[in-house]
Amino acid sequence: MNIALALSPLLVVALGALLLMLAEAFSPRQGGLALGAATVLFVGAAVAGGVWMYGIERLPEAASLAPWLLLDRFGLFFDMLLCLGGGLAALLAGGYLVEHGIERGEFYVLILFATLGAMILASSGDAVTLFLGLETMSLGAYAMTAFRRASPRAAEGALKYFLLGSFAAAILIYGFALLYGATGHTDLAGIGATAATARTPLLVVGAVLVIVGVAFKVSAVPFHAWTPDAYEGAPTPATTFMAVAVKAGAFALLLRVLLIALGDASWTSWAAGWPPVVATLAVLTMTVANLIAGRQESVKRMLAYSSIAHAGYALVGVTALMRDPTQAGASVLFYLLSYTVSTAGAFGALILCGSHGREAVSYEDLSGLGRRHPAAALAFSLFLLSLAGIPPTAGFFGKWFVFKAAIDGGLYWLAILGFVNSVIGAYYYLRVMVYMYMREPAAGAPVALPMRSGYVTAALLVSALFVLALGLVPTRAIEVAVRAATLGAG
């Protein structure tokens, strides 16, 4: 029974997804699926939390699934994070899809399956399970992106996302194929053991291809070309899911690969390993995304670039893994948590500001919102402050820990570049607030009316709670992240 207990977060979501799929196909009533999906995911998060409290180490049979599935605290942390992100996206979808007249039950089923894929990805310790999770996650996300079938933009975004996504997947498996050839292993630990002793050209090419494939998935510059179009074309809850769960899953993959397969000292040295590569990606990602984000006229597209920029900040923490895997890993995990709740909240607030087939897209749509709908504007502001990294919000401590990890690792210049970038980033977040509180809508302009939906309100409340809690008392969460990262390294 121990094995079922250790697998319970995955089993809950998998069974929930199958049940919901059948319910969607066979039930005459279509209502309540959003609630069902959100419930399954929050129960999944709670179960993962329960296993965490009980102690996965006390379930020795969990280790018997290694190397296919590594059921450890790192995986459990991501289970909770992904279920939270997926659950928030499901709640947002419950309001958004109805309001925009594209309510079909498949969406919630897709969210559940994609979240399950991301959870498998985060727990995988072998190229087979890794690829299985990655594809399950990505296929769900592709389908969700194209969900608004009448819209050419949705089809375009989904197509770009799909083509570059499957291209990245092909590169990734080619990389793993070469790594298998060089080491004789497909499991990350086995690859790591061989990679530590012998460095052949085959191994290096394989590692480079794997890193490029993962960089596509986390949408690091210069592999980000698909992101803005996919994020803009997708229905906003799908965008939320991509920005939150898909990105977190991809970071879990990156951390596992770098810590386990390429975690040996010969690979983590600045002179002959991956840190300069990741540092370059981090700098490019932060800078390019921030500069382009400031020029956007669509708030949704701005948030898309902002999510790219945030991947850059997280990559700063990933670079710092070279010195202190535990501390830096914990900073990345905490960053992902704070980013998840802030981004889900920001997209949720954007959803709240649009209604009846008309999304709030431009800055002008939001002007005067502070006077007309103070509650919506207040929620939006909170999440924007968090994304900008201004205390007392989660985003502040997220950036704080990541930059601190970089400084402790001796990467002063990287921390400084990150700080400069977050100042640039604050410009376009604050610009939204300026429009909300200091501008009046132009006379005669169509004004986007906020929608009313219990689902969206609930999602915003949960996100706001997390943003404030992490911003006021981050100590407990960072302890949890440190424990998760400790075992992830081992």
């Binding site: 690829f131 089809a155 083509l163 499957s166 291209f167 080619y174 194929a177 050839g181 803009e232």
Partner: protein, 99 residues
Amino acid sequence: MSLASCLLLAAALFCVGLYGLLARRQIVAILLSIELMANAANLVFVAFGHYRGGALGQVFAVFSIALTVAEVAVGLALAMLLYRRHGDSRVELASEMKR
């Protein structure tokens, strides 16, 4: 067939796929190119699996084929979506959003 020739063939397949991905305009042709690239990886797995012994390489190839098929199914669905709109499925049709 020697390992080296298998690897060369796989690398060539991968490059042909990459070229097709960049040069072809028809979505179905691009899907074929991506499939070529994935199959190049499968070939590498099977070749190394044979060379090293054991079933690992073949196991991975079977999983990879199944997953790639699922991927292509979604891709074809997207191509059909575009086709229904425009009566054609070239990638240029999907370029309304600015870069």
